[in-house]
């Protein structure tokens, strides 16, 4: 049995380049051949640091980034070159939650207008949309009267719930979550993550969960992929990748995040130093090899 047969989304050898700035500048390759897959109802965690290309993967799947080559198949269908009409239809299946809840909601539209947007786009009538919006707000634990208010009246965590409700509105099969909690305070972050888990249990939606925080990804994911400089360096079961990684970069990433326990943190620090030394030794050896 291959994972391919079961997967909802399959990304193969994906390359994305952005045009360089200025005249005759070299294009900048952000993704250098990405392979990954998401199965129905699964959460795939994607971890990486800034500039690693993790956000670009999400945007490429959503059709918001220019794909240079490679394939993205959703439910067996190749969607890299989907035409605008097909792309709009795909909205029914693939949705998004962005990082920044302050700029992902239009400040001059009420919450109700924002939430009914995807419903109207799928051809619902205004009345149907309105009743559906009330349901959605309840499902993300927001009061029903929130529909008539503007985003500025809500806190970051509440706005992110609105963004989740918008993503859920047309019952998609996959939601790309791009750093959905990194702009939130610790306690708020926890409640939003719990909400996402609850929704996944209830609806069976698959999540591509993108984050820089290994601890958050560990808590959310079935499998985890680690991306570094446009390449996946490690991909496997969540508990394996986040507690016993084999790739040196993943090891460093794991050990670098401090834990709120002074004794444990001291051990981690020592271990990180060891990993670093090993890496330095390997680099030195490689350098000597090359020099010969």
């Amino acid at each position: 049995m291959s994972a391919q047969d079961q997967s909802l989304l399959t990304v193969q050898d994906l390359h994305v380049s952005f045009p360089g700035r200025g005249w005759r500048a070299q294009p900048k390759e952000v993704l250098k051949g990405i392979n990954l897959d998401v199965r129905p109802g699964e959460t795939l965690g994607l971890v990486g640091e800034s500039g690693s290309g993790k956000t670009t993967i999400g945007r490429a799947i959503l059709g918001l980034a220019p794909v240079a080559s490679g394939s993205i198949r959703f439910d067996g269908e190749e969607i890299v070159h989907a035409n605008p009409r097909r792309r709009r239809e795909l909205a029914r299946d693939i949705q998004v939650i962005f990082q920044d809840p302050y700029t992902s909601l239009n400040p001059s539209l009420t919450i109700g207008d924002t939430l009914s947007e995807p419903l109207l786009a799928q051809g619902l009538s205004r009345d149907e949309a309105r009743s559906h919006v009330a349901e959605l707000l309840t499902s993300v634990n927001l009061p029903a009267d929130a529909a008539d208010r503007l985003p500025r009246e809500f806190s970051g965590g509440q706005r992110q719930r609105v963004a989740i409700a918008r993503a859920l509105a047309i019952k998609p099969r996959l939601i790309v979550c791009d750093e959905p909690v990194s702009a939130l305070d610790l306690t708020t972050q926890r409640t939003v993550l719990d909400l996402l888990l609850k929704i996944q249990r209830e609806t069976g939606v698959a999540l591509l969960f993108i984050s820089h925080d290994l601890a958050v990804v560990r808590a959310m994911s079935h499998r985890v992929a680690v991306i570094h400089r446009g390449l996946i360096v490690e991909f496997g079961q969540a508990d394996v990748v986040t507690s016993d990684p084999t790739d040196p970069y993943t090891q460093r990433l794991l050990l670098a995040a401090p834990v709120p326990n002074p004794a444990k943190q001291r051990e981690r620090r020592a271990e990180l130093e060891k990993v670093r030394e090993r890496e330095r030794a390997m680099q030195a050896a490689a350098g000597a090899e090359a020099g010969r």
Partner: protein
């Protein structure tokens, strides 16, 4: 990632305070603004008579009685007569028709040309953007007056055609405005979200883009109308129109010819022109006040929260720590509408030499404001409203500015959160390090440079000499933070105040910077106040910790005590939200209704 901890000042408003209903209609709003009201009334006094000129004017604007030339105001002829014995009032009322009509035509042409092209160029970009931007730059490098004069030479003195050309010449102002805003909106996440929602482009433009462009364009219309009227009157003043038409510009020209004999003739057309253009610009200002504040975050809308009684576990006044001691510190901001808002409600802190204290809290807890208050660098409007701060035993409240400045850098140093924005983009790393060293230590340029290079070496920057000559945009965030730490170390301080020093950095870089801070602290016996929201960073670096919530310290103690046995409910909640070492999820299994 800069959004991680929004500035503490703005955050208290975030707590979902249902602000008063926002004004949703932009049409009647200017009427509620006194400036807008006056402008509209005055403009109506100009426009309405122009429309009803044939009924209102005392006589035909062309009727000349040479015998009455230069006669002053009299009943029936309120403004008197001009050099040809024509009634000035009639000419002004009829002149408004041509002056305002011409400006309106130019404005219409400019809108039709500028707005749609700006919309397309801003939204789709690519070749259309390049082409239209180039054309705009071309038009803008032409002096309008010369072009209009040339056009008059070719096309003859037909005012309306000239106004169309003027419309083309002022269209760039609309194009640039629209294009700029649309290009900005285009990059907003909510537009991406709308696209992912399956909205076609025309609906995204209609719903998300036009709503943002509308207000600035209305404002710009009022501004450009004022300019257009001025330009148009200027052309007529030069005698560009056929001369038979009574226009304000032509009247001014005629009055100017007779300036020695009857200077009063300048008054009426001058007033008409001046008042009309001033009103339009004032109306634009009023519209800006009314329209542009919508969608912005309300400032200080929520009421001051009732202060929770501070849990004071700190030693009493006699036992104040030697390096830094804060007692009952209150920080307040003056609200724009008058009144005060207290953000820090009386806190105590103590740091002994060589002690590292973590000040932990979520956004809006007042932790950053506390740090700024200790440094004496609160932003505009903020002040210490009560309490005492001693540094090395010296009370800093009420200390003269110069002495306070002496403490900064020498005794207390600051490491900010966001490395990039805290370096001046216009200066090299070297000159930004050398400047305070020379000022504070009085070193020569050469010695200061040597000292700066030493500092860069101290913070483990690989190639200090080369780094000295780089500009901030040429180095990475981690390196910029090292440079800022080097700057903080330059006068060998005893107390370091670090405000979220690693929040903006990647975890692997964060670990390196924490390592550096630890080494500096150990080697130099630094006292550190580490402001952070990250409990892991506290565990990594701090001896003691104070937990802050809503401007009050709720718990304090050694890091081991507080983290192992939290007492306060808020600390418990914080510790409970930590995800490190949490259970992973049970293994995935295919849902029952597996996809075909």
């Amino acid at each position: 990632m800069t959004q991680l901890t929004p500035a503490d000042v703005s955050s208290p408003n975030e707590s979902a305070a249902p602000a008063s209903a926002p004004p949703r209609s932009g049409v009647r709003a200017p009427l509620r603004n006194p400036l807008g009201m006056i402008s509209i009334i005055l403009l109506a006094l100009v426009v309405l008579p122009a429309i009803f000129a044939p009924f209102l004017a005392p006589q035909s604007p062309e009727l000349a009685e040479l015998g009455r030339a230069f006669e002053g105001p009299q009943p029936g002829h309120l403004f008197g007569f001009d050099s040809a014995g024509r009634d000035v009032l009639s000419r002004i009322v009829f002149g408004a028709r041509y002056t305002l009509g011409g400006a309106a035509l130019a404005l219409g042409v400019a809108l039709v040309l500028g707005v749609p092209t700006g919309l397309l160029a801003g939204y789709y970009g690519k070749w259309f953007d390049s082409l239209s931007t180039w054309a705009t730059n071309l038009i803008m490098s032409l002096p309008a007056m010369v072009v209009l004069l040339a056009a008059r030479a070719i096309l003859g003195p037909t005012v309306w055609v000239l106004m169309v050309i003027m419309g083309v010449l002022v269209a760039p102002s609309f194009f640039r405005l629209t294009r700029g805003i649309v290009a900005n909106v285009r990059g907003e996440l909510y537009v991406d979200a709308a696209r992912v929602s399956g909205l076609p482009d025309w609906r995204i433009i209609g719903r998300h883009v036009l709503i943002v462009v509308r207000a600035p364009i209305i404002i710009q219309v009022a501004l450009v109308a004022g300019v257009a009227i001025g330009l148009q009157a200027g052309l007529e003043f030069l005698g560009i129109s056929s001369g038979s038409m009574p226009t304000w510009g032509a009247m001014l020209n005629e009055a100017f010819q007779n300036i020695q004999r009857a200077p009063m003739l300048l008054l009426w057309p001058g007033l008409a022109l001046g008042i009309t253009s001033s009103c339009l610009v004032l109306l634009a200002a009023a519209l800006r006040d009314v329209l542009e504040d919508r969608g912005a975050e309300p400032v200080g809308a929520s009421a001051v929260k009732a202060a929770v009684a501070p849990v004071s576990m700190a030693p009493d006044a006699p036992g104040r720590a030697g390096l830094l001691s804060v007692r009952d510190l209150k920080v307040a901001y003056t609200l724009p509408g008058g009144g005060d808002k207290e953000i820090v409600h009386g806190i105590d802190l103590d740091i002994a030499p060589g002690e590292v204290l973590g000040l932990v809290g979520e956004s809006g807890s007042g932790k950053t404001q506390t740090a700024f208050a200790i440094l004496g660098i609160l932003p505009e409007g903020g002040r210490i409203s009560a309490g005492s701060i001693t540094i090395n035993g010296q009370e800093v409240r009420g200390m003269p500015d110069a002495a306070r400045r002496g403490l900064r850098g020498d005794v207390v140093a600051y490491v900010p959160q966001e490395p990039m924005s805290n370096l001046d983009p216009s200066f090299t790393i070297g000159s930004q390090l050398i400047e305070p060293i020379r000022y504070k230590l009085g070193l020569s340029r050469k010695d200061a440079r040597a000292k700066a290079i030493d500092l860069l070496r101290l913070v483990e920057i690989a190639d200090p000499e080369r780094t000295m000559d780089l500009h901030p945009h040429e180095i990475s965030g981690g390196m910029a933070q090292r440079v800022l730490i080097a700057g903080a170390m330059s006068c060998d301080p005893a107390l370091l105040i670090a405000d979220e020093p690693t929040t903006a950095l990647d975890v692997t870089v964060q670990a390196e910077v924490l390592e550096l801070l630890r080494k500096l602290q150990r080697d130099r016996g630094l006292g550190v106040l580490l402001v952070t929201h990250n409990l892991g960073v506290v565990a990594d670096l701090c001896d003691t910790v104070a937990v802050m919530q809503h401007g009050v310290i709720v718990e304090r103690g050694t890091v081991t005590d507080v983290f192992d046995h939290p007492q306060d409910p808020y600390t418990l909640k914080l510790m409970g939200a930590v995800l490190d070492g949490s259970e992973t999820r049970e293994a995935w299994h295919a849902p029952l209704e597996v996809a075909k």
